[in-house]
């Protein structure tokens, strides 16, 4: 492949974009005003949907390429619906479908796609930092849809949207994340985004699944779930991928459920108005008991619904759409 010549100039992209940032690589890199602008825009789209009005076709004539090198159902369909709602086109390339991928470097794959002149690239990849490599190589905006254990920023933003909906204000909000923190990109993105918005974040899990020096990120780490849930406004439960853990990290699913599964019994130790969240898909009976999944404190399906609006907001803003909020007239 020849010398790197992005088809668009990076400065042009950021100049035409009200966020002033080219790509969404992770929440660690987002400032409070970025998050507020994205959420404002997402609530604007949600208000339009609630009024059954027409979405603005701000992605009309534009193409979003979605590179998914890891299995995904909800994130992928959420991005696809988001683009379609705004009148945009999507092309999905998966690991299986992309014969160009064989023996090719990641940056070469991305440049090949850029040569077809899409307007935005969405990437899910098993290797941490892969969207950063692509972002440096390409002129178009890149949205990280999950990179290894590193970040999953759109998940964190939809979590924030849901929290804002139910709790209103982030300052002083106490959020506990429970589960396999070490291998969770959701945990990292939520920690950074919630802290930026003024929330106090704690984590809880077996010591084998808490990453080294996690407290250096400004969170409190617990290994006792009953103690951890006390006084929390939100308990965010992560999917435990037992098949991915080695036997030295967790003895069994049953033992995990006994010590770290969130059940009706756990709720007795929580504040009565606690919110239960989960990024999905849920292992019913492992990390969450079925009655809690379907119970009155669960906002899991609200999270899924908000995911579409957050991703619409990101498409809209990164491709040059105007800043909007709930009160903006259509």
């Amino acid at each position: 492949m020849g010398p790197s010549k992005p088809l668009l100039n990076l400065m042009d992209v950021t100049a035409r974009n009200v966020l002033g940032i080219k790509s969404i690589l992770g929440t660690e890199l987002l400032k409070k005003h970025h998050i507020e602008q994205i959420l404002d825009c997402a609530f604007y789209f949600k208000a339009i949907r609630n009024r059954k009005a027409q979405f603005p076709k701000s992605l009309s004539g534009k193409n979003a390429v979605m590179l998914f090198f890891e299995p995904s159902t909800r994130t992928r369909s959420s991005f696809a619906l988001a683009a379609k709602n705004l009148g945009g086109n999507t092309v999905v390339l998966t690991k299986e479908a992309s014969s160009t991928g064989k023996g090719e470097t990641l940056v070469d794959t991305a440049r090949t796609i850029e040569a077809m002149q899409p307007d935005i690239l969405v990437l899910r990849h098993p290797s941490a930092g892969s969207p950063h490599h692509i972002d440096r190589a390409l002129g178009i905006p890149v949205v990280n849809a999950g990179d290894g254990f590193h970040e999953h920023p759109t998940q964190a933003l939809l979590d924030l949207m849901t929290l804002k909906e139910f709790k209103g204000d982030f300052s002083g909000m106490r959020v506990l994340i429970v589960g396999d923190i070490a291998h969770s990109r959701v945990a990292r993105s939520d920690i950074y985004a919630l802290q930026t918005m003024g929330a106090k974040v704690s984590v809880c899990g077996p010591p084998t699944l808490l990453p080294p020096q996690i407290e250096a990120l400004g969170v409190t780490a617990y290994t006792d779930l009953k103690k951890a849930v006390r006084d929390q406004d939100v308990v965010m439960v992560l999917r435990i991928q037992l098949e991915r853990l080695n036997p030295a990290q967790n003895p069994s699913g049953g033992e995990y459920a006994r010590f770290y599964g969130v059940s009706t019994e756990t709720l007795k130790h929580c504040k009565p108005d606690v919110l239960i969240m989960h990024p999905g898909p849920v292992n019913r009976g492992v990390e969450l008991s079925p009655d809690v999944v379907d119970g009155p404190r669960s906002v899991i399906l609200n999270q899924v619904g908000n995911g579409v609006f957050v991703r619409m907001a990101i498409f809209h803003l990164l491709t040059g759409g105007e800043a909007v909020h709930e009160g903006t007239m259509v």
Binding site: E28, F69, K95, S98, G101, K102, G103, E104, T105, L106, V107, D108, T109, P126, S127, A128, G129, S130, H132, H133, D147, G148, F149, H150, E151, R185, R188, P211, P212, Q213, I214, A216, L217
Partner: protein, 328 residues
């Protein structure tokens, strides 16, 4: 050609406790005078180099390099490695055994010396400890010694079996060969690609803990004490390893250690841009480790600086889209 006058440089040569601004006169390829104000006109036609503002030293020695030849000449050859060494001021280098085939027998050793004979610097071969670097059976250490090896090491493929390592140390005594240990416990390293710590947590990359190095440093020091053999710890990277080395030396155990420039200068903060060039073995550590290494160099706990020059091709350091085997 072999006559040279280097004027006005700061000449440093620890072997004769020299650190002064003097001229160096080289006649017939040999240093024939070290003194101020050597007159070039006394030597008609001699090449004169003005080294004002420069440090002039004897040729440097790099005891830890990888020349990739035989087997991986797309990365490096003995010739290109020797040229790189000369360009960096090194006149003697030693090359590790992880070639293809492995330097675990006298034929490969002889091949290396044959290639080296036409190079501009002295190239010394280090033999493997075990056949094929597999950690199971001792290599033909004696025969390689006769062919000229100057030490033995399985380098990146640390001997995990303590019994084999003990026997290698025992066997090395017959030839008074130094056993060089790349100290890294494979089990503890796991799939780690960078130092385990707050940065691996932040970057979402798997960590390789300092203990993976230190348990092998401790083991090999105990085995050196047990066997009385000469042990050298390659590229020491952690404060804990420096402490173990210092304590072992105080007890009179025959152990030495080296540090690389990158471990003395960089920390794992450098990994934050996901540049795969920051992936090294052992990984870049933290500031406390850099500080301890510098302290170790100052107090003599670290005996040598070595580069661990280990070239890969540019393509190999890029992320493959699907497999990701390279790069990280």
């Amino acid at each position: 050609m072999s006559d040279l006058l280097i004027k006005n440089g700061r000449v440093v040569d620890p072997s004769q406790e020299l650190d002064a601004t003097v001229d160096v006169l080289i006649l017939d390829g040999k240093v024939s005078a070290l003194k101020s104000g050597i007159d070039a006109s006394a030597h008609p036609g001699i090449r004169v180099v003005d080294a004002a503002g420069c440090v002039v030293t004897p040729g440097w020695v790099d005891m830890h390099t990888h020349l990739r030849d035989p087997g991986f000449s797309h990365k490096e050859t003995i010739q290109s490695g020797a040229m790189a060494a000369a360009a960096g001021g090194f006149t003697s280098i030693a090359c590790m055994a992880n070639t293809k085939p492995v330097n675990d027998n006298p034929f490969v050793t002889s091949y290396i010396y044959q290639k080296a004979s036409s190079c501009d610097v002295n190239v010394y071969a280090i033999g493997a400890i075990t056949k094929g670097l597999e950690g199971k059976q001792l290599a033909e250490i004696g025969s390689m010694f006769e062919a000229g090896i100057v030490g033995i090491s399985d380098d990146g493929a640390t001997v995990q079996d303590s019994y084999i390592m003990r026997k290698a140390l025992d066997y090395s005594r017959k030839f008074d060969l130094v056993v060089i240990s790349h100290a890294e416990c494979t089990c503890l390293k796991g799939l780690g690609v960078m130092n385990e710590g707050v940065n691996s947590t932040r970057f979402g990359l798997r960590g390789n803990p300092k203990a993976a190095e230190e348990v092998i440093v401790a083991r090999d020091i105990l085995l050196a004490e047990l066997t009385g053999a000469r042990l050298h710890i390659a590229h020491v990277s952690t404060a804990g390893s420096v402490r173990l080395l210092r304590e072992a030396k105080a007890k009179g155990i025959k152990v030495t250690g080296e540090a690389t420039p990158h471990h003395l200068i960089l920390t794992d903060d450098a990994v934050g841009n996901y540049d795969t060039n920051t992936k090294v073995a052992p990984p870049l550590r933290e500031q406390v480790d850099v500080d301890a290494l510098i302290e170790g160099v100052k107090d003599g706990t670290i005996d040598a600086l070595a580069t661990d020059h280990a070239p890969h091709s540019v393509t190999e350091k890029k992320l493959n889209t699907i497999t990701l085997r390279s790069g990280w």
